[in-house]
């Protein structure tokens, strides 16, 4: 008979992690090893049954992509990234916990105020990737910006009221646009499987389309377009509705998916007036966000390390933002706009 394998070798053999020559023959002729293997099987079986309960249950959700760049010239692109993030995250924001199933199919989200959503650049980027994995995003409805001569032309083109305090060397207008995001149950199932979950996707979710609409946007840019010193932005409201499952159902489902940064999901769930609050993602590793009072209007101020600052607020359904290298100038211009 061959020499007795040690306990570790028998254990590895049980897991097919090692080979033992003629093991059954050895066990048939060696009572000590037979007892060892029986004990190992028993302990492994016990551990296996108990440890199964630790298999992670499916959980939470979503967010948006913000590109963190170190270059000073990257801040305008970052601002654009944040705007895209706002659009995406409003999908999630429009999906409160708890009352989801009670929501009517016709419920809609409409931006009337802004709140800060603290995260990291990495979490935001990854959340954007998560969203992209769940279905098809159709951005054909987002038109390219066009140059216009000045404030009056921008006003006529966008339909927005442009105050005198809006000044700039260059004027750009993006007409109103739509993003359609169609959820695909197979893509979601694949995503869940990659996260170790075999939860079935609710039938009503498959093919549901989240429609994000935003009004026209006007940009007034001071300085060169590729490295502006000050940018003023005014936009119509962001709204969201769904075709298929209700907005509440969709939101609740998204918030229950695994793989999304827990802190972000917690903050989204904490927004009580979710149907009207636009969460503004602030990557805390690159910027700080705080609420400030602008002559009676609640605004969010974002300071981007070494690059400048921005102020954004919603007043009478219109979203306005000011961003620039010099925080004092940014605040002064924002105050002038608010005071008309």
């Amino acid at each position: 008979m061959t020499a007795c394998p040690d306990t570790g070798t028998w254990r590895a053999w049980l897991d097919d992690e090692t080979a033992i020559p003629a093991p059954e023959t050895h066990l048939a002729g060696c009572g000590a090893c037979a007892r060892t293997v029986a004990e190992l099987r028993s302990a492994a079986g016990f551990a296996s049954r108990k440890m199964t309960v630790l298999s992670p249950a499916p959980r939470p959700v979503v967010t948006p992509p913000v590109e963190a760049e170190a270059s000073p010239r990257g801040w305008l692109r970052r601002f654009a990234g944040a705007a895209a993030a706002v659009l995406l995250i409003s999908v999630v924001a429009a999906t409160p916990g708890g009352r989801a199933l009670a929501d009517s199919v016709l419920s809609v989200f409409r931006s009337q105020r802004i709140d800060i959503l603290e995260s990291t650049s990495r979490d935001l980027a990854m959340s954007g990737l998560v969203l992209g994995q769940l279905g098809e995003v159709d951005t054909d409805g987002l038109p390219e910006p066009t140059r216009v001569a000045g404030a009056r032309e921008a006003e006529a083109e966008s339909g927005l009221d442009i105050p005198d305090a809006f000044r700039g060397d260059s004027w750009l207008v993006i007409s109103s646009g739509t993003v359609r995001w169609e959820l695909d149950s197979q893509a979601i199932t694949d995503y869940l499987a990659a996260h170790g979950s075999d939860v079935e996707v609710p039938s009503q979710i498959d093919g549901t389309v989240v429609v994000l609409e935003r009004g026209a946007i006007v940009f007034a840019v001071s300085g060169p377009l590729d490295d502006p010193s000050l940018v003023l932005v005014r936009s119509g409201p962001v709204t969201a509705h769904t075709e298929g499952a209700s907005l509440g159902e969709t939101r609740e489902f998204l918030l229950s998916l695994p793989g999304l940064p827990g802190g972000l999901v917690s903050q989204l769930r904490a927004i009580e007036d979710w149907e009207s609050t636009l969460p503004l993602p602030v990557p805390v590793d690159a910027a700080t966000g705080s609420h400030v009072d602008l002559d009676g209007i609640d605004a969010v101020e974002i300071d981007v390390d070494d690059l400048g600052s921005g102020l954004i607020w919603v007043d009478d359904d219109v979203v306005t933002a000011v961003a620039g290298h010099d925080p004092a100038t940014t605040r002064q211009v924002a105050m002038e706009i608010v005071r008309g």
Partner: protein, 166 residues
């Protein structure tokens, strides 16, 4: 050749994160699992291991994430003792079956809490489906020692669990 050459840490993170969260979620509940993994990834940013081949980075992340997860459970216990934070299990309502499952989960985790780092990590990794080679890399031990460590861990686990059930 270094596998991480030409790959940013962010690319590594994107690949690793979902599986890491699934692994850590065996030890702590969501959303804490997400936070624990985030903490491990932040540590990775500042650790020389980030420049090593991907297989080594992966093994490092598994070990550090599990250790952070058990540390987090220890901290939760301290906070709970001071009344600073209720455990997730206490604040989540759910059907009876889920409540029972939570109790079973906590019973298993509390046994793991009292085991050595190596023994509890070998159990979590093995029952999350990792191979002996992956376990050996994560726990910085020879592959030939995994069987012995696992056998001892399983025996110790059963002994402690049955003691708790008395």
């Amino acid at each position: 050749m270094n596998e991480t050459v030409g790959r940013s840490i962010d690319a590594v993170v994107l690949e690793q994160r979902p599986r890491l969260v699934a692994l850590v979620a065996r030890v702590v509940d969501w959303p804490d699992a997400e936070d624990v993994v985030q903490e491990a990834l932040l540590k990775l940013d500042h650790d020389p291991i980030a420049d090593r081949p991907l297989s080594e980075v992966t093994a490092w992340l598994r070990r550090v994430s599990l250790n952070l997860a058990f540390n987090h459970r220890r901290d939760l216990g301290r906070w709970r003792d001071r009344g600073l934070r209720a455990p997730v299990e206490d604040v989540v309502d759910g059907p009876e079956a889920e409540s029972l499952r939570r109790e079973e989960r906590e019973a298993v985790r509390s046994v793991l809490d009292r085991m050595t780092d190596r023994q509890r990590n070998v159990l979590v990794l093995r029952y999350a489906g990792h191979s002996y080679a992956e376990i050996a890399a994560a726990l910085e031990m020879p592959v030939s020692s995994v069987g012995t460590t696992l056998a001892r861990a399983e025996a110790d686990f059963r002994s402690k669990y049955e003691e708790d059930s008395k």
